[in-house]
Symmetry: C2
Subunit: 186 residues, 2 copies
Amino acid sequence: MSDRAADVEQALEAAERLFNARGVQSVGMDAIRDASGVPLKRLYREFPSKAELLHAVLDRRDTEVRSAVTGFVDSHAGSGSPRDRILAVFDYLAEWFAEPDFRGCMFLNTAGELGGTSETVLSVGRRHKLALRDYLAGLVAEAGLPEALADQLMVLANGAMATAALQGTPDAAVHARAAAAVLVAA
Amino acid sequence: MSDRAADVEQALEAAERLFNARGVQSVGMDAIRDASGVPLKRLYREFPSKAELLHAVLDRRDTEVRSAVTGFVDSHAGSGSPRDRILAVFDYLAEWFAEPDFRGCMFLNTAGELGGTSETVLSVGRRHKLALRDYLAGLVAEAGLPEALADQLMVLANGAMATAALQGTPDAAVHARAAAAVLVAA
DNA sequence: GCAGGTTGAGAACGATCGTTCTCGACCTGA
DNA sequence: TCAGGTCGAGAACGATCGTTCTCAACCTGC
């Protein structure tokens, strides 16, 4: 009854949740089967290996995160100045970090765990961060600020994610926002 | 002939190198024995488990990193203004990121890999980052700048480490330094 | 030289994991 | 009703890993 696309969706969602909570290597395919309800046979029909399942999870997460950021900025500062929209990105981070199961940026985490052994994981992460940097660069250009600011804001955003994940508090988003406010005003 | 302390040292050094290169879970105790020359029996006499070996590696790395930072700042900007010393921290990052086997901050990496399953790893990482923040807070106070700046600089530093590790280039240190220069001048 | 303890190399053990296979239940179409 | 195919649950397999054990070689003190 449940169709193939729904199985894929449930598998990806369960895998994302488990990878996020426990890391990639600590999560077995059995755990993904149990959490998603999708039997092993179907998992391996849709994703030929765990590595390809991880790749699919990261691809899905990439579009998820990017649309969440742009959606938040549009709805909270869509009518504000470009500078307001830049700062809204950090307000988004604050909301994200406060979610109860926040465990950091999946791309930074998987790069830390597997980056030494998987070039694929690194390159998916690089593409994701590059896309976010380009989004910030667009806002920076609209604000008439120098392009180099986009890289600085990206370092701030990544730093907020890494710091918040380690500390277990969303404070880093507030610090990053304050720093960003100084940078866009300079 | 080789004495117990030397074995411990070689084991810690080999484990640090391997954990850094491949992550913790991908490195077996056999690989640490082969790389260090310390037999398994001695490894287990000095470190009752792999988890305690990791803990010891992180403790060693904590003092290593902190003395490297303060040593660099003292020797490169010891006679400069407090603001120069703050910026020298980011010059240190640039040198570090350019090392050929740089693979990111071990505390951020292990937190990403094991933070979901090991509270110990998280708390060692938090202590390390807190110590660095306190060092920055000292420089900030000497410069007569508001204490909140220390947290912002810490986010910048963590962001530079995470970004450089993912990108494989030391550029992020330059971006972080430029942002820090604006913040300390504000 | 010799008993008694210590050591190292590697085998062994038990657990886990990614992946594949078995086999019985169930559906389908005539 | 029946043949043929599909599917799910779980067993099975081979590899890896953390940890412990075996056993022969080697010290040490006398």
